[in-house]
Symmetry: C2
């Protein structure tokens, strides 16, 4: 049954790579709302491809969003797609996104991030693995059925957005609105927007949540000259450094009081899952390029990444950030950090505790400056039931293509839509990654290997088949 599909996919891999090259060339970076025109271009290109394949497409209005500046902006639409409907078959809804993280040569890319470049079997480019490659692999899996005149054994629906990298503004509201229409006949929801944990294929059953914090300290009317005023001014930058410095100790432990109180205790059963994962700590150190992690054992590192909260400081806006030297006292600086939450932490509660902590620290500074803390993108952590039937189908499909059992893993990063879709629709949600652990999502030199891209397309084709056998 699967052989002709796999052969078609093998035979057409160069076309599939060429199409990914065309998609990567669109700079659909959603990080800056003034550039959302490119995101819309990418969404339109995706919608056209689905329509060309015979799918129906609705470009659903996802409303507006208020930026931290107070400005309200219209959001790019969300693609709701559907291939021919057979009421006898199970219905699978595939989620994906076609926006990307920012990327510039100056950040240290070896090749142009928006020109997909193949080097020794790897396809380098922004979005190659996160998430343009996987979205195309789904569409190419459908194409393999169509081109070989094989009936697709499940009904396929698609929900594809363009704002995942900034927190899927508007998507949750849309899902709520479409619960009783688009989602009414959906049986399973599948997401391929993460990577394997090791060199082995994996199914993902949980993700951490995330809250992004903006800590603004403002003081003088204007930027000041540090020679003229240095030593006489409460500098917003030193206030901010003290605030950011109060968040973590040098072991990576979060210093916000009570933040980790609600973390689910570890059971013996869960502990075993980590022991079974073929994660090589030394190999990972080499891949990442660090001499040591904050933890010493494989299990502790995996748990720190997947089932415990973390806090990372990303940067400062408003201070001097260019190369060279500038003797400035910035008038207003905004520190940016995020907290990854885990079951059973509540984003509202996290936000309150972080704000209270920062306000308390700031009060000890005796500063005449103004503090403003805001938080966005509060995504809850997600945890699925490993007994759901699509997890069984997923395991079989992995075996069909790779000949091994998948690892059952969690993901440290946030796919808010997994939690949102599960909570709002009540359907089973699974994550079925095809990227490798060293793909470098969000990094310089992001890639997907040609092998994973093509094997992933086969995996998705096999998954349609295995899912139809179970329902």
């Amino acid at each position: 049954m699967l052989e002709p599909l796999f052969k078609y996919i093998n035979d057409h891999q160069n076309q599939f790579v060429q199409r990914l090259k065309e998609w990567v060339a669109i700079k659909s970076d959603s990080g800056d709302h003034t550039k959302w025109g490119q995101v819309e271009t990418m969404l339109n290109m995706t919608a056209e491809l689905i329509q060309k394949m015979g799918g129906k497409v609705e470009l659903a209005d996802s409303g507006t969003h208020q930026l931290p500046s107070g400005e309200t902006v219209s959001l790019p639409p969300v693609i709701l797609g559907e291939f021919t409907k057979d009421p006898e078959k199970a219905t699978l809804c595939i989620y994906g996104h076609v926006d990307v993280q920012p990327a510039m040569m100056e950040d240290g890319w070896t090749t142009d991030p928006f020109n997909l470049t193949e080097i020794r079997g790897n396809l380098y480019g922004r979005g190659a693995t996160d998430n343009k490659g996987p979205v195309l692999a789904w569409l190419h899996a459908v194409e393999s059925y169509q081109a070989t005149n094989t009936e697709i054994p499940v009904n396929i629906k698609l929900i594809i957005e363009g704002l995942e990298e900034v927190g899927s503004y508007g998507l949750l509201k849309l899902v709520k609105e479409k619960k009783d229409s688009f989602f009414a006949d959906v049986d399973f929801i599948v997401i391929s927007d993460n990577v394997w944990a090791t060199t082995s294929p994996a199914l993902t059953y949980g993700t951490r949540g995330s809250s992004y914090f903006f800590v603004e300290v403002s003081g003088p009317k204007l930027d000041m000259h540090s020679g003229v005023y240095g030593g006489s001014i409460h500098e917003p930058m030193s206030d901010l450094i003290a605030l950011l410095g109060s968040l973590l100790d040098h072991t990576g432990k979060i210093q916000v009081p009570g933040l980790s109180d609600d973390v689910t205790p570890l059971t013996e059963e869960e502990k075993k899952l980590y022991e079974n994962i073929k994660f090589d700590l030394e190999e990972m150190k080499n891949a990442v390029g660090v001499k040591q992690f904050l933890q010493d054992t494989k299990e502790d590192v995996l748990m720190a990444r997947w089932r415990y909260p973390s806090l990372s400081i990303h940067g400062i806006q408003g201070a001097f950030s260019e190369p060279g030297s500038k003797t400035i006292i910035p008038r207003k600086v905004t520190g940016k950090f995020s907290v990854r939450q885990v079951p059973n932490m509540d984003p509202q509660d996290v936000e309150r505790k972080v704000k209270e902590h920062l306000e308390q620290v700031f009060s000890t500074q005796n500063s005449p400056n103004r503090l403003k803390v805001t938080a966005t993108v509060s995504a809850k952590p997600w945890l699925a039931n490993l007994g759901d039937s699509q997890y069984i189908a997923g395991q079989k499909a992995v075996k069909d293509v790779f000949g091994v059992e998948p690892e059952l893993i969690r993901e440290g990063s946030t796919i808010p839509i997994a939690q949102n879709l599960q909570e709002e629709t009540g359907k089973s949600v699974m994550m079925l990654p095809i990227g490798a652990h060293d793909d470098g999502e969000h990094s310089q030199n992001e890639k997907i290997s040609r092998y994973n891209y093509i094997a992933g397309t086969k995996l998705f084709a096999a998954y349609f088949y295995e899912l139809s056998l179970i329902k």
Copy 2:
């Protein structure tokens, strides 16, 4: 004697403003070495004007400079200018610079920083007061003598550079080379590259020194995704925040051990100088837009700015600094701060103590990351002798133009050339500012008032005259 000069200057003020507009239009920002072409354009324009006025110009080679990156770059030339020489007259050498600080509308300018714009008597534009306006005022003072057929009573030499804002690379070496040629017959050196301390005209007899520090912390090979790796990695950014946080306490006191040991003790005589200055603390709070300074009295604020050291944190390179949100763990971040030194601190000693302190703090972090501390632009503090004859001439010239005695002030910011010229040439150096205290050098909306620009031109014309009477 001075009346025809003053009348000429008054009558030609619109031309003088127009010429400043042409100079401000050249984006001679020296902060980024890849843009030094504009600095050279500005130097050529200056040289042409001097030549048109009958001056001789040498575009002196100032050698090369090694950037923090290790790259070696050729430096723009330095203008050595000279008007007709009469061995019977005293020779005055004027120092100025025609490069500027960076400026962008996005930083919060009300008008285009490179289009000089007059609003209610103020001329807004980058370089208006620092230092294009004063350099032109010197040349226009010469022009007023020439145009009124008045013999200039002193010989005029000029040294004009294009790298002051990044630390006058190459200038010290050039001054050493020219000590026995260009500087041999110079009697006095005058610099107008600072501003009054209050609303009263001033002579400046001291400046603070400066050392600029780059604190680089590097870890992983690439930027990492904070979802995937957050909680397991020693993040370079949290190491850096801890390092920067160790530099100051919340009262602005420098926490580097021993840094202030060599500060000259305050004498009763010096204390009186501060009491005499008509500095209004409340007015300054309003101008700067702060509710309080770190000190409570006028004298303490002035001393904090002029005769005590300070440390300001300017920013971080390599972290996320754009608007919006990005969930990145930066692989390499460079914190930037500077220390203003005062007599009798030694820059070499400051550098050593800061490095030792940072290394000590970093060692307590137990981090596998790499720390690299480099320092540039080590300028020594400068203090002149108030009894020098050009200070007497300066006081008389201020009285000629403004009808009041000047305040005798120091300057918190660094003009390394004052110290360098005094030390290398052994000549008397004076600073004769024409900008007002609220001109906003290095800030958004930098300006010089039309009044100060024109009165400053008269002051310089009067100074030539008074100086000739004393010698």
